[in-house]
Amino acid sequence: MRVTRRRAGRAAALAAAASLLLAACGGGDIDSGDSGGSAGGADCGDFNMAINPWVGYEASAYVVGEVAAQKLGCNTNYLKLKEEIAWQGFGSGKVDVVIENWGHDDLKKEYVDKQETAVVVGPNGNVGVIGWYVPPWLAEANPDITNWENLNKYASDFSTAETGDKGTLWDGDPSFVTNDEALIENLKLDYEVVYAGSEAALIQGFRNAEKNKEFYLGYFYEPQWFLSEVPLVKVDLPAWEEGCDADPATVACDYPEYILDKIASADFMASGSPAADLVSNFTWTNDDQNQVALYIANDGMSGEDAAQQWIDDNPDKVDAWING
């Protein structure tokens, strides 16, 4: 015990000496004190951008985040979070913005209406489609396969070891918006859902299926860069009508068209941060997003580099966001 105590005493003395030294050595090439933002008027400070796990989202998030960092001098933090977890961060200030939200009426009810920690900032210009897709060779070889009523006919062709006699419907990340389990049940389809786990895994599945001419039925969505590589064909489910998907247990219709919107922390929007105005003004098209997503997913660029490329190519659009 004595040894340890002496050691602790010595450590304390050293720490004191170290802090003295730190205080004494003034010079050097690092400015002590904050050097602040490089441009822009008001202080921006931290800007916490959630990143949900699909490439299209990443594209939007990095473009907004990089514009904020470069033009407004914000200290942009990117937080990789699943949708529902990200919403829980609004109240504590850990998350400022979810830049691409797909519906999520339950979360809006809780965090926007009830807790009032989040606000809906408005559409981001992207229009979302969710559905079931097959590889193009399959739709060409069996044109009737794109009608849901014929899916049972092909169930055994779509079967895998995971689902036995039943057909396999591949879904993505468990956190994605999906009614697929209920749809299969309510449309009396002879299928079972298997979660591939991620967007990348779905893409790999579709790619292999097209290359090897295999049966593959999967959950997928637009905007989506991959459709320019392999133009998947959407299966028609019973048409969507207002209210047909109100009860998740009895839903038996297609997904609606999603007007993707921006959700932000209420405190952040009220803070007067210049990034809040940027988020309000940000809007772009599906083609814009697909372009950046293509840089990331296909050309292997980092999110920051991909965003940089697009920002350099589209100064007009960026200026419009900044100047309102």
Binding site: M1, V3, R7, R10, L14, A17, A18, L21, L22, C25, G27, G28, D29, I30, D34, S35, S38, L79, K80, L81, K82, E83, E84, I85, Q88, G89, G91, S92, K94, V95, D106, L107, E110, K114, Q115, T160, A161, E162, G164, W170, P174, S175, E181, A182, E185, V193, V194, Y195, A196, G197, S198, E199, A200, A201, Q204, G205, N208, P248, A249, E304
Partner: protein
């Protein structure tokens, strides 16, 4: 984990119950055969009936109730309920601590103003000095290499972030864990109350409590630290309690006779004498904290988990490989440093070290470190780690190699996945036929029968059997499987019944596998996830079968030759320190999502433990026995089959126990990649608001499965395994 540690964790294994002679043993095997035959026949007759399959989009009343509980908690927090005052204070304190440490130590090259108070050179110097002071020169050199590798591989700030989260959690673990361990070592009652709590903390899958933790502590640093804490605390408590309770009674008596107070006894005698064991516990806790700090990235915890989750979502094997390397290096550094510190502390207490000279060297090196810290504070070059291409180069190389390999053998691996699933899992021949597609009553009776035959019913078997039946009946009633909907009873009563059930069963549980098994099965029923639990159970059993095959084959090979052991062991160490998430990325590159993928990952994760335990068992077969057999002219295979394997039976059963538990914990992660069953439900509950309750219920079911498998194997080991070790 070594044999020694495993036995500490399962004191039940110490209880000797070998009342059976050889004849009774043979009878038991016949009975076991009869049970299996009956199970198979009834399984065929009742195939697909009473499987209690619950569609994913459907929730039982219990699961709905958990959802409501979640809403209540969320409302209470939102409305500023005073219960949350201390919690909010605690999470702010944690957040503040971690942020301050980050400002102090984490320079970030990806940001324009990413300088820290102490730059990379200073951090390296401090780490090397601490390693030298605590663990000696060799470890100091290791620390230097490892710390520099973080920067060269391109993950400097993530690595230091991970070290900070791990460090803060471990400090809190020591603050909580050591007193708790002392308390446990002094009181049998405390031990019996805390043991099931610690069991639950270790078997409850981390994803199951990440959701509730976010609810209470929020995302980011506080949630990450608390999650890490929960997972890392049990080993320290258990091992320090064990270490303290094994301090020789005669020493304790002598000290007490000399009139020491109990505080003096603790601080002057027991703690110093148990120091070595406590450091072993600390080592285990640090390792556990490191692995959990990675998973905490799912709730915005900083560190190396972020690139790994990223790699998993974009299927980038190279990134997973490089960031995985950082984790393995970090684990090796922490492991070696604590082990060496443990040995050193003994040497110091025995005054084997030359104090004078050592103090001089420490002083000089400290001065050097302080100068480096000062320079790194001022000079940008020594503050922000210079850009390095190495990590990217390695990642690209790994990605190219993966592409080439998966293009050439992709067809084969997909065929393998299908064939394996058909043979081992799917009906008619796979295990699913007897668990997933068989009626619930057949499976639960079958499991109970196997548990009794292998693990025993304990003393006074008849009342225990009656208690087990009563438990089961209560659970079936509570789950509402008889009616279409669950019993409409107040949830206070419901939970009262569940808790009474658990406490009651642990009170009468000693001495046999029957009661714990019955309680676990009942709990699985009560949470309403029978079918999903069976999916997970079959995957676990199949994976464990392969773990055991590897364990015995490689373990015997290693146990018979020191040279093989020395070559293979480092690979096993590496596999064990890689976090589970890292395996999934390359596995996904070769195999389609599904149960096979989850099984591969589980086997990779669990095999090293089983191999090591078996190897140690084979090696410990006494030299004279082996020599005697040799002199009688045994061939190599006779030696293995007739002498070494039978005599290390105990180790093999023990490795089955550890294999099962490791596999079970990995099977959950398999839910991320189409593994299905409880693992998927846990992940899903973490991802979708309306499935929160179901996910938590699945977490409870996994814990129940884990306790059941553990108790059956532990009691089996206690009955059959003692012969060789005694």
């Amino acid at each position: 984990m070594t044999v020694e540690l495993t036995e500490i964790e399962h004191p039940a294994a110490e209880a000797p119950v070998p009342q059976d002679d050889e004849g009774g043993g043979r009878l038991r095997w016949i009975a076991l055969g009869v049970v299996v035959v009956v199970w198979v026949i009834l399984g065929v007759i009742f195939h697909g009936k009473g499987t209690q399959d619950l569609p994913v989009s459907q929730l039982t009343a219990f699961q709905e109730w958990l959802n409501e509980l979640r809403n209540t908690i969320e409302d209470a927090k939102f409305n500023g309920n005073p219960i949350f005052l201390p919690i909010d204070w605690l999470s702010e304190a944690l957040d503040w601590t971690v942020t301050q440490l980050q400002n102090l130590f984490v320079s970030d090259s990806s940001r324009p103003q990413g300088v820290a108070q102490v730059g990379w050179a200073g951090v390296v110097a401090l780490a090397v000095w601490v390693a030298y002071a605590l663990s000696g020169l060799r470890i100091a050199i290791l620390a230097l290499a490892v710390m520099l590798s973080f920067g060269w591989l391109g993950y400097w700030e993530q690595s230091i972030d991970t070290l900070i989260i791990t460090g803060v959690s471990v400090v809190i673990c020591v603050i909580i864990g050591l007193p708790t361990g002392i308390w446990m070592s002094r009181s049998k009652r405390v031990t019996s109350v805390l043991t099931p709590v610690l069991d639950t903390m270790q078997t409850m899958p981390s994803f199951a409590y990440l959701g509730p933790l976010v609810l209470i502590f929020g995302i980011g640093n506080p949630g990450a630290v608390v999650a890490t804490l929960i997972y890392a605390l049990p080993p320290l408590i258990r091992i320090s309690a064990y270490g303290l309770s094994t301090v020789s009674p005669s020493t304790v008596e002598a000290t007490t006779a000399l009139g020491s107070t109990s505080t003096q006894l603790m601080t002057k005698v027991q703690l110093p004498m148990a120091r070595r064991t406590i450091i072993v516990g600390l080592n285990q806790t640090i390792m556990a904290a490191l692995s959990m700090a990675i998973i905490a990235a799912f709730i915005a915890g900083p560190g190396l988990g972020i690139p790994i989750i990223d790699a998993l979502s974009v299927l980038n094997v190279g990134i997973a490989f490089v960031s995985g390397m950082c984790i393995v290096f970090m684990a090796i550094m922490l492991d070696r440093a604590t082990s060496a510190a443990g040995e050193r502390s003994e040497a110091t207490s025995r005054r084997e070290v030359n104090g004078q000279r050592r103090r001089l060297i420490l002083g000089i090196s400290a001065a050097v470190a302080v100068v480096v810290v000062a320079i790194s504070h001022n000079q940008l070059r020594w503050n922000v780690f210079p850009d390095s291409e190495w990590g990217r180069r390695i990642a690209n190389w790994v990605n190219d190699a993966t592409d080439t390999i998966s293009n050439s053998i992709g067809q084969f691996t997909r065929w393998l996945s299908d064939a394996f699933t058909e043979v081992f899992l799917n009906p008619p021949f796979g295990l699913d036929a007897w668990f997933v597609d068989a009626p619930w009553w057949l499976v639960s009776l079958g499991i109970l029968a196997v548990a009794i035959l292998l693990g025993g019913a304990g003393k006074e078997a008849t009342p225990r059997l009656a208690a087990a039946v009563a438990l089961g009946a209560a659970a079936v009633l509570m789950s509402g499987y008889w009616a279409d909907s669950p019993l409409d009873m107040s949830w206070v009563i419901y939970w009262g019944a569940v808790v009474a059930l658990l406490i009651g069963s642990s009170a009468v549980g000693g001495g046999g596998a029957l009661i714990p098994t019955a309680a676990s099965i009942s709990l699985i029923f009560a949470v309403g996830l029978w079918n999903d639990s069976m999916v997970t159970l079959t995957m676990t059993l199949v994976a464990t079968l392969f773990v055991m095959i590897f364990g015995i084959v490689v373990g015997v090979w290693m146990g018979r030759s020191r040279r093989v052991d020395a070559t293979v062991r480092p690979f096993l160490d590496g596999l064990q320190t890689l976090p589970a998430l890292v395996y999934l990325v390359p596995a996904l590159a070769f195999f389609p999502a599904g149960r096979f993928l989850a099984i591969i990952a589980a086997v990779l994760y669990a095999a090293p433990v089983a191999i090591k335990i078996t190897a140690d068992g084979v090696r410990s077969v006494a030299g004279p026995t082996v020599e005697a057999a040799q002199s009688l002219g045994s061939s190599r295979w006779q030696m293995i089959g007739k002498v070494q394997l039978p005599m290390s039976k105990g180790s093999i059963v023990l490795s089955a126990n550890q294999g099962l538990l490791f596999v079970l914990s990995m099977v959950v992660i398999g839910g991320l990649v189409g593994g299905g069953g409880l693992g998927f439900l846990v992940i899903n509950g973490f991802s979708q608001r309306e499935d929160f309750g179901k996910g938590l219920a699945a977490g409870i079911a996994i814990t129940a499965l884990g306790i059941m498998l553990d108790r059956i194997t532990v009691h089996t080991a206690a009955r059959y395994g003692r012969a060789d070790t005694a």
